[in-house]
Symmetry: C2
Subunit: 459 residues, 2 copies
């Protein structure tokens, strides 16, 4: 349904050239990083202030036009597709770091600041923002999808690192959630409600984030294991001994092969752990040596320590490049990327079952994971247009989710629901879906905020 | 308004002697730890299962009878007073530790398990539950009020340590929020919504909690400072250097005097820090020695290290006994206990302003605080029946909250809203109160869940 003419006129008056009906702009804001697709939105807007976001929402509210927030477009479950038409609101022009409060370990930013841009800005302060999903995503998008990533085992996810938000609601009302205090018990935790709400309850226009001190010492390493079970048991033992790890990632044999092809490395093409320790020189030395002993106990071999910043950067660039590297394993392929998260004690079995399933469906699907929190990913490579492969990949993804639920886990640890995981929401949440739907209906009665996403009860 | 006869009959049939209209039972469940008061509830119920809680809620929902959850009765802001009559639901018979999953660092408990009972149960596992508000509160109550306490600087608050909940809603519907995975991005964060909801949205009937490894080494110390500013600057420097502290508390001169009177100690009657470090023997030694150097830089004197478990226990028993010790400074007094939380950089000024205010009102009000997260408390001692003193104490508490808001802080860091902080909620949250009220109305349209509390818009 095209934008009604009076609404288009109002938006054009408000925004000038920052309101576009052009095909090219719509297509740029209608895609998806993965296999999910939908027709492009009817229009794109680029607000530059909270006031403009509020004014846009008032217009769209009046005319019942769907509004979908947009950051860097790197979400993996089709979160920002315009399923019911409407307007995509691109927030990347709201990209200012507003206020670094180093003494309070806090920063306030607009939603279009990316995590790399923020960390560049912070470099001189001795502080950094640790949440790192790999992609150089916008912080607004990361909050909206409750992103986490490789450093979550030490520093937490967006849930833990967003202190306060400014949000524009469906009717244009501007609210502030949370405070600048480190904690609060003053009322309902609206910050946590909007973090992970995937644009279904409002548009985030400002974030107050927790910062952390850049560690005095960092040590990273990669280490091969004979089997995934041994690698996972090593991690479990490490965590139970209370050895603080900043990152602990596993990559399977296919992913190791992808890394070798992409980076010219010569990793053994079997399971690996990639680890990083942060702390004082004394504690890092102590932690790393204890971990080394544990790894040896579980058959870890060929420890390769990255001691210089450049070597460490190369190591994590390799890990963060996993998505592209794995795509390159099968030229021309696109990917069904899926993630689940299970209690640690079920991780090895869950990964093994997924591997068997991928293989019995005849698919290539490298796996990587944040093994410190039980979260793992499979990137199922399918050729565009091959309906059989796509169906097989979706079956694998669904069974991964169902097995996660069977052991008390979740259908997605960090990618979010979007379109892709929506059919599984009822299986996870049961009657609690009714609570989510009631909250959605209370805050967005006309269902204009990213309709068709996340909560299955809504359209 | 008395319980309607048909409802009383149904409850009696359902619960037998675990439904009581007796004056003594009602009075035992109608009090408050502090100066807040209200007439007792009309009745008390003691369910023993989720099914009973659900059946009670169905009856109360049908007859529109208010229901107020009750744990150990140790809340400080009148959270469990029966302001609008109705039934108090005492959950202390639901006191089973259901399932310790040591490999996953998790435990599932019923709401009536106290934190000390849980830690006794966990002793042999090498794990512990760290949230420690001082009182031996029930874990259900601690979740409902988003409790925190002395160890929050290292291990987080209830917000961070509750993974999943079972909740009975106003109409008796039983839902489950969260999962046993360490993280999830599958939908709205209902766990965070119910943690801190103070019984206004539902009754918590089961909790899944995160556990932590008992630290290999623990070192605790108390150290005197010349001024509060120096003590706080020392803490700020410690945090910015990334030295991980497990606890870091300040006590002012009046509190030190109370400790001496109560415990026969001979602390200098000025500002002190009480600290604790957790970790490996090497890291604790390193952390403690660095902290010692920093403390010396800021004028810290008379470092007294508690090296044995018994000495440490005595130290923290003294701190946790602050409430009783301070009451004893003025025999016969009751207390207006208030807490606020501010960004760290404003802590010294906020405490100094409160001290001046207390003194200029002619009150005695010792202060203690969780200085690592900017949270501090004043315990304003007033004589029962002295309306002038009570009014003065309330003025002080209100101004503390207003000053906290002026620097971006919160009206309560850990005590919660209850009755006492309700008049200040709008000042903190502005238009966001409308969102809280909309959620309350969506989940509890008849307003039977702990009515008259927390959200000012509801009755």
């Amino acid at each position: 349904m095209p934008i009604p003419v009076p609404a288009a006129d109002e938006l054009a008056r408000l925004l000038g050239a920052r309101f576009s009906l052009a095909q090219a702009d719509r297509e740029l804001h209608g895609g998806s990083e993965t296999y999910h697709s939908a027709p492009p939105p009817e229009a794109v807007v680029w607000p530059v202030s909270t006031e403009e976001v509020s004014a846009i929402m008032r217009i769209c509210h009046q005319h019942r036009i769907p509004v979908i927030g947009w950051g860097t477009g790197t979400s993996l479950e089709g979160h920002a597709l315009a399923l019911h038409g409407g307007i995509v609101m691109d927030l990347m022009k709201m990209d200012r770091v507003l206020d670094i409060r180093a003494g309070d370990l806090q920063v306030s930013v607009q939603p279009g600041v990316t995590r790399e841009a923020l960390n560049t800005e912070l470099r001189a302060t001795g502080l950094f923002f640790p949440v790192d999903p790999g992609a150089n995503a916008s912080l607004g998008g990361m909050a909206a999808t409750r992103a986490s990533g490789t450093a979550a085992v030490r520093y937490g996810t967006m849930r833990d690192n967003v202190l306060a938000l400014e949000v524009v609601l469906a009717d244009g009302t501007v609210i502030r959630t949370g405070t600048r205090a480190a904690k609060s018990s003053a009322g309902l935790d609206l910050t946590a409600l909007f973090v992970g709400s995937e644009g279904t309850l409002g548009i985030i226009t400002e974030l107050t984030l927790r910062l952390h001190g850049q560690p005095e010492e960092v040590a990273a390493a990669v280490c091969a294991f004979g089997t995934l079970e041994e690698a996972v048991e090593c991690v479990t033992a490490t965590i139970q001994m209370g050895i603080p790890m900043a990152r602990i990632e596993f990559v399977d044999g296919d992913a190791a092969r992808a890394f070798n092809l992409q980076n010219g490395t010569s990793l053994h093409e079997g399971p690996h752990l990639m680890v990083e320790f942060h702390g004082s020189p004394a504690s890092v030395k102590d932690d790393a040596s204890k971990f080394g002993e544990l790894a040896a106990d579980f058959g870890g071999q060929g420890f390769d320590w990255a001691t210089t910043p450049a070597e460490r950067a190369a190591l994590w660039r390799m890990r963060h490049g996993a998505y592209r590297a794995c795509l390159a394993l099968r030229p021309g392929a696109t990917a069904v990327v899926t993630d689940v998260c299970v209690p640690m004690s079920h991780l090895a079995a869950a990964v093994a079952a997924a591997a068997e399933d991928i293989s019995s469906e005849g698919l290539l699907g490298p796996m990587v994971g944040h093994v410190g929190d039980g979260n793992f990913h499979s990137q199922l490579l399918v050729m565009p247009g091959n309906a059989e492969e796509l169906a097989a990949a979706k079956r694998v993804a669904t069974r991964m989710a169902e097995r996660a639920l069977a052991v008390g886990g979740t259908i997605t640890g960090e990618h979010g629901v979007g379109v892709g995981k929506r059919p599984l929401m009822r299986a996870q949440h049961g009657a609690a879906i009714g609570v989510m739907a009631a909250i959605k209906a209370a805050l967005d009665p006309d269902n204009i905020m990213n309709p068709g996403k996340m909560i299955p009860e809504t359209n």
